[in-house]
């Protein structure tokens, strides 16, 4: 049992160490301005534009469900008009960035790991290296930067659509007075809530790209290796997002004086 735990601990520490080394390489690459802007724009399209539909649907239906559930509880204590304020703060602080990141991790994290993993098993990454091109400069840095830029924008879309959808449900289906609903939302949603959401989305973007690229670059041989890397990229990115979200909430709550 001890031997097994020892091996497991070593494996986890070794993985974390390798991810840290990759992060260092990305940092060095970013400092030397090795990014090819054409690749960066393409990755913005691939990560950001192509993820819009899934993020918009997630935001809209989460906003609608959250609005309805909040109304069901608040209606009992005659606080109907506070419904949209709860939806807004929840979406800005937590649900917007987290759900966006989880959806993008599923779509983009898997795609990054599969693409880079396939390049690895077909020796395309070795070919890059023999052509005097650092794989981090060519493959990882554009994806990292694009994910850092795209995630906050997607999170904003998710939040806006979620609030809009919730507003429609509250006013058109649940019959809540629109003016009070809107005024209460504006009163209880602060700039800092939006700021927290954007910072979280920025960090989650980096997590998705970093883990996706790492799993692709270190994937095992053959189709099985690529499949394994793809699954692990999604699972590890999702878990890392959920765990880091808790600590980010605590840290940023302390920083902005909520704690």
């Amino acid at each position: 049992m001890n031997v097994f735990l020892n091996q497991r601990a070593r494996y986890v520490l070794s993985e974390l160490g390798q991810i840290a080394l990759l992060a260092r390489d990305i940092f060095v690459s970013a400092l030397t301005f090795k990014v090819v802007w054409r690749d960066f724009v393409y990755q913005i399209y691939s990560i950001g534009v192509k993820s819009q539909s899934v993020v918009l649907v997630t935001g809209a239906f989460t906003g609608m469900v959250l609005g309805a559930q909040t109304y069901f509880q608040f209606h009992k204590v005659k606080m109907d008009t506070a419904t949209l304020a709860v939806v807004s703060v929840s979406l800005c602080d937590e649900l917007g960035p987290v759900l966006t990141a989880l959806m993008v991790a599923g779509r983009v994290g898997a795609s990054i790991a599969a693409e880079i993993g396939t390049m690895r098993v077909t020796e395309q990454i070795d070919a890059l290296r023999t052509l005097a091109t650092h794989p981090v400069d060519y493959l990882v840095l554009p994806r990292m930067l694009a994910a850092h830029v795209a995630l906050p924008l997607l999170a904003v879309e998710c939040i806006v659509v979620g609030i809009g959808a919730s507003y429609m449900v509250c006013t058109q289906i649940l019959g809540i007075e629109p003016v009070y609903l809107w005024e209460n939302m504006l009163r209880y949603t602060h700039d800092v809530d939006i700021f927290i959401g954007l910072v979280k989305a920025f960090i989650f973007g980096g997590i998705i790209a970093l883990i996706g690229c790492y799993k692709g670059l270190t994937c095992g041989l053959g189709a099985e290796g690529v499949g394994h890397a793809t699954t692990e990229a999604v699972v590890f990115a999702s878990i890392t997002i959920l765990i880091s979200n808790f600590f980010l909430t605590l840290v940023m709550g302390k920083l902005v004086g909520l704690l």
């Binding site: 070795d126 070919a127 290296r129 052509l131 005097a132 091109t133 650092h134």
Partner: protein
Amino acid sequence: MIEVRNLAKSFGAHPVLEAVNFRIESGESVAIIGRSGGGKSVLLKHLVGLLQPDAGEVLVDGENIGPLNERQLLRVRRKFGMVFQGAALFDSMTVAENVAFAFRNQKHQTAGEIARRVAAALEMVDLPGTQNKKPAELSGGMRKRVGLARAIIYEPEILLYDEPTTGLDPIVSDSIDKLIIRVRDQLKVTSIVVTHDMRSARRVGNRVMMLHQRKMYASAAPEEFFTSTDPVVRQFVDGVADIKEIVI
């Protein structure tokens, strides 16, 4: 000039190379032969720094590349061109983009100049007019030719070929061999060809080296190598499964 001193490499508990020593002079053309899975490709990847040795040294023009990190190795790799076993073309790009890849970050060359060099490289490998095709549209032999065009376009000093004729029919193999000889003679590059195709080894190398049981077993000029009476060499050259069946 490439020199390998006491090179050793293992994957896990499985040793692949042990105390491998050799030296290849500039302008030489060397065929490295050996059994499948015998470590030939692993050896080739050490020469260009794609793998790090467990022990020993690889010297390129007198510089030990072992201690260099990935970024420092980029400078050394500019001396090399490599043709991979499966061609390793970038499948998201066209043939022209693949061949021109080495110039993608070079600002001093215009698009017209790059297009001219791509056309010349494709002409040299007998594939003119294929610029707009995708790798998936090409046959195995054509992909290897494009891989060679990609490797020679920036005029490297050393060309490495990893099993260039494996999986190709004899006619295409013959054309690839002729192409390797033509490139060697026209560009005056150092060529290192890893193969287990005896016909190919006989034709493309000024020297044949044999990797056997993790060590460099033999090294000689082709005429001497292929007339050797050494039972291990004869077994491989004649393609005999049982060493007792060899008639010397």
